[in-house]
Chain length 457, copies 2
C-alpha cells in the first residue's frame, strides 16, 4: 500500500472519530449575530485552532477582528507545488424558531443517516471534512501541496471583518487559488460543483410614526399607521410577475447567454425536487420568464427575512403601533453591486415613503456576486475527485447563496475560488432541524483526499 | 345642609380614600387577552363585587361566562323613578411594550397631577367614579333613582360573552337607559359627551408558505415569501388617498349630512391637539376629503395592530420565513356590520392572495357602530351635570373607539346608552405610560353625583 492509499484507508477507519468531532463541534452554539453568544463563538474558534495544530499544521493562531476572530494555520513544505487556501467558517445561524426543532439545536442528535444540529451542515461538517482530509494526508506523509487554512467566524453575518482583514494580510493569504467548502451538491448521488454565487445586500428598515403606541380607535384614521406604511412599501417592491421595482435594479444584471441557459436547463434538480426540498409550499413562484435553476442561480431576489410591529401576543390589542421594522435582503447576480443596491433602495423609499412617517435604513451586510472559471486547474482537480468518489461527473451549477469571501478575494488579491462542499438541499440550513447527512460527510472527506492529490499534479 | 349637599360634600372630603381605591384597583393586572392573567382578572372582578356590596348595593354577584365573569349588583328602592344600568369593565389592555414604561405598569405611581398605571384611565377610574358617586348618594340617603351595575371583564377583547349574556339576562338588565362610563372628554376644561361610537371587526391573518423557514439564498426567487405576500396584501388594502379597498367596504357607510359636518367642524379638538395627543408624528394622514373630527368619529378605518414574521432578533439572518402573521382591525361606522366586513375581507383575500401560499383568517372580535339620540332625557341630565361641574356646556362628539355593549343593548333589548366618562385624549390608553388625570377623576365623581340627581327629575 502506498502512502496515498494508506491515507485514503485511514479516513474510512476513522469514521467514528470523525463523527465524534462533528458532534463536539456542533454542540458549540457559535451564533455570530447574537452578542450574548460571543463566548461560545470564541470557544468554537479556539476549538478549530486546536484541531488545526493537532493534525500537524503550523502557525495556528487567532487573529482578532472587531467581532469574531479569524483562525489561521498553514503547512508549506511542498516546494514547487501549488498553494491552496482552504476556506470555511465556524459560526452558525440563530436556531430560532426554537419551537420547531424536534431535538435541541445544540445537542447534536443522530436519527438514521443524519446528525441533527444547527450548523452541522452549514458548515461544521464541511470544515471538518477539510481538516480530517488534510490530517489523513499529513499523517500518512502524503500531503503533496501547500495549504493555508482561513476559518472565519462572521460568514453568517456577511463577513464584515474580512473586507479589512484580507488586504491587511495579503502576503499571508497569497495562494494559487482558494477552495471554499461553504458549498453543496445537488443530491447524495448527484455530485455538483458551484461555479456561481449570488451576492447579498441585507438591510433593516424602520418606519416610525407616533412616539408611542396609540389607541387605534382614538387615532385610527388620522395618524398614519407605520405597519400599514411598511407593508405598502414592501408590497410595492415587486410587481405581480415577481420583478423587483427598485429603480435601476436590473441595470447591471448580466443577461444569460443561450449556452448557459441550456446548461442550466440540464441541471438535474427539477421543480419537483425544489418543492420537496422546500417542504412543499402549495406551488413555486418566481420571476416570470425564467426557470427555477435560473431564478436560483442567475436572477436577483428581494426577500423579507423578518418583520415586527405592534402587538403580536395572544388575542387582540387595539393598538396603532408607533413603529414597524422589516429585515429585507436582496440576492445579487453579476454585475450588481451591493453598495449600488443600497442607493436604489434608498431612492425607492424616498420616492414612496409618505411624509407622515419617518424611516431609517441600516445596512447589515453586503457581498458581491461571483462567477468563476469552469476550466481552471483547481476546478479540473475537483471534478476529477468527484468523478472518482461518486462514479459520475459533477454537474456545474450556479447557486443562490452568497459567500462574501469569494468576491473579496477576487477584488483584493485577484484570487479565484473553487467551491467544493457537500451540503444538501434538504439539509434545512438556516431553518429548524438542520442536519448533516452522514454518508455524505464520509464522501466529502474522501473527495478532498483525492482533490489534494489531484491538485499537486 | 340637605342630603344631596352632604353627599356632594362627602365626595370632596373622601378624595384620599378615592385615590387609595384607584391605586389598589389599578395594581391588579387584569389583562383579559392573556390567559396566564386569568387569576388576576378574576381577582379584579371579585374586588369590584366587594366594592359594590360595600357601598350598600344588593345582589352583588359574579356571573360566570366562557372567559371572564360579569359583575352585577343593584339598588332598586326608588319606586316610580327611572332605572339606570351603569356599565363599565374591569379588564385592561396588555401593558407592552414594557420597555417604554417609565414606571411599572401595575405599580400605580403618582407624578404631579397624574396617576400612571395600565388601566387607570381605561377604565378603572371611570368604574370607581360610578361606584363612589352612587356610594356617596347612598350614604347620605339621597339616591333618588334605581341603579343596576354591570361591570364586565372582556371589553378589551371585544366583549365576546355579552352577545350571549345580555339576551339570557334580559329581565335582570331591564332599565330605562344605560350609562356607559367607558368614554372621555375632550380636555380637562372642555367637557364633552360622546353620541357616536365606531364599531370594530378584528382579525388575525396568517399567510403560510413552506413548512419551515428556508435559506433565503437557496430558495429565494423560487419559493414565494409569505412575508412579502402579507405585505403586498396589506399594502393593497388602501389607496394612496387613504381609502380602503375591500370590495363593498363603503356600501353601507352613511353619508354625513351637512348639519352634522358643521357640528363636527366646531369640535374644539384641532389638528394641533390631535398631533400633540398622538406624540407628534411628522404629520397627520387620513382619508382625503374629510376633517380629523370626521375621520375619527364618522369614517371607517383599517389598521394593522401587529405584524410578525421570520427573524426579528439582533442583526441578520438570511431566512425565507415559513409564515407571516398580521393582526388587522377595522373601525366601523353606521350602518356597517362587522360580519359583513369579514366577508369583504375574505373576498379581498380570495381575489388577491396568490396560489403560491395558503392563508387563514380568524375573527377575534366584532362590535356594531352606534349613534345615539342627542335629545333623550338621559343625555339632557348628563349635559346639565357637566354644565354644573365644568361651568360650560358639553360639546357633542363622535368618538373613534368602540364599546361593544352599546350596540348589543340596542340590538337585544332596544335600550339606548348615554356615554358619560372622563378619560382624556392624552391619557395614553392602550399605549405605554397610561395615566389618569387626578383632578379629572374628582370632577368625574362630582358629575355623576349631579347626573343621578338630575336623572330622577
Amino acid at each position: 500500500m502506498n502512502k496515498f492509499s494508506s491515507a485514503l484507508a485511514s479516513v474510512t477507519d476513522q469514521q467514528s472519530a470523525a463523527l465524534a468531532d462533528l458532534i463536539e463541534f456542533s454542540a458549540i452554539p457559535s451564533i455570530s449575530t447574537l452578542s450574548e453568544r460571543n463566548p461560545d463563538t470564541r470557544r468554537a474558534a479556539q476549538w478549530v485552532a486546536n484541531k488545526l495544530s493537532g493534525i500537524g499544521l503550523e502557525h495556528a493562531q487567532l487573529f482578532e477582528t472587531d467581532r469574531h476572530p479569524v483562525v489561521y494555520a498553514d503547512w508549506l513544505h511542498a516546494p514547487g507545488k501549488p498553494t491552496i487556501l482552504l476556506y470555511g467558517h465556524y459560526d452558525v445561524q440563530p436556531a430560532d424558531p426554537l419551537a420547531e426543532w424536534n431535538t435541541e439545536p445544540f445537542t447534536p442528535t443522530r436519527r438514521g443517516d443524519n446528525l441533527y444540529a444547527r450548523g452541522a451542515s452549514d458548515m461544521k461538517a464541511q470544515v471538518l471534512a477539510l481538516i480530517r482530509s488534510v490530517g489523513a494526508l499529513l499523517a500518512a506523509d502524503s500531503l503533496t501541496i501547500n495549504v493555508k487554512f482561513l476559518i472565519e467566524g462572521e460568514e453568517e453575518i456577511g463577513s464584515p471583518s474580512l473586507g479589512k482583514f484580507i488586504p491587511a494580510h495579503a502576503s499571508l493569504l497569497q495562494c494559487d487559488y482558494m477552495v471554499s467548502a461553504d458549498s453543496g451538491i445537488l443530491k447524495p448521488d448527484v455530485p455538483s460543483i458551484v461555479y456561481g454565487l449570488r451576492g447579498l445586500a441585507y438591510f433593516e428598515l424602520l418606519v416610525q410614526g407616533p412616539q408611542t403606541d396609540l389607541h387605534s380607535g382614538m387615532f385610527g384614521g388620522v395618524v398614519h399607521n407605520p405597519a400599514n406604511v411598511l407593508a405598502h412599501l414592501i408590497g410595492g417592491m415587486h410587481d405581480t410577475n415577481g420583478r423587483i421595482l427598485l429603480p435601476g435594479f436590473y441595470d447591471d444584471v448580466v443577461t444569460l447567454d443561450p449556452d448557459e441557459r441550456k446548461a442550466l436547463a440540464a441541471t438535474p434538480y427539477t421543480d419537483a425536487d425544489v418543492l420537496a426540498a422546500a417542504g412543499n409550499p402549495p406551488q413555486l413562484f418566481g420571476e416570470r420568464g425564467f426557470t427555477s435553476a435560473e431564478r436560483i442561480g442567475a436572477r436577483p431576489t428581494l426577500d423579507v427575512n423578518g418583520m415586527l410591529s405592534g402587538f403580536t401576543g395572544e388575542g387582540s390589542k387595539t393598538v396603532l403601533p408607533a413603529k414597524a421594522m422589516a429585515k429585507i435582503s436582496t440576492r445579487l447576480v453579476p454585475n450588481q453591486d451591493p453598495a449600488k443596491v443600497e442607493l436604489q433602495l434608498r431612492a425607492y423609499l424616498q420616492q414612496h415613503a409618505p411624509p407622515s412617517v419617518r424611516w431609517t435604513l441600516k445596512t447589515l451586510a453586503g457581498a458581491h456576486p461571483a462567477v468563476v472559471d469552469r476550466t481552471s486547474p483547481g476546478m479540473q482537480a475537483a471534478a476529477r475527485a468527484m468523478q472518482t468518489v461518486f462514479g459520475t461527473a459533477p454537474v456545474m451549477v450556479r447557486e443562490g447563496g452568497s459567500v462574501p469571501i469569494v468576491g473579496l478575494m477576487r477584488t483584493h488579491l485577484n484570487i479565484d475560488t473553487v467551491m467544493l462542499g457537500f451540503a444538501l438541499h434538504d439539509d434545512g440550513i438556516h431553518g429548524p432541524n438542520e442536519k448533516q447527512h452522514i454518508p455524505t460527510y464520509w464522501r466529502g472527506i474522501e473527495t478532498f483526499v483525492h482533490f489534494f492529490s489531484n491538485a499537486s499534479q
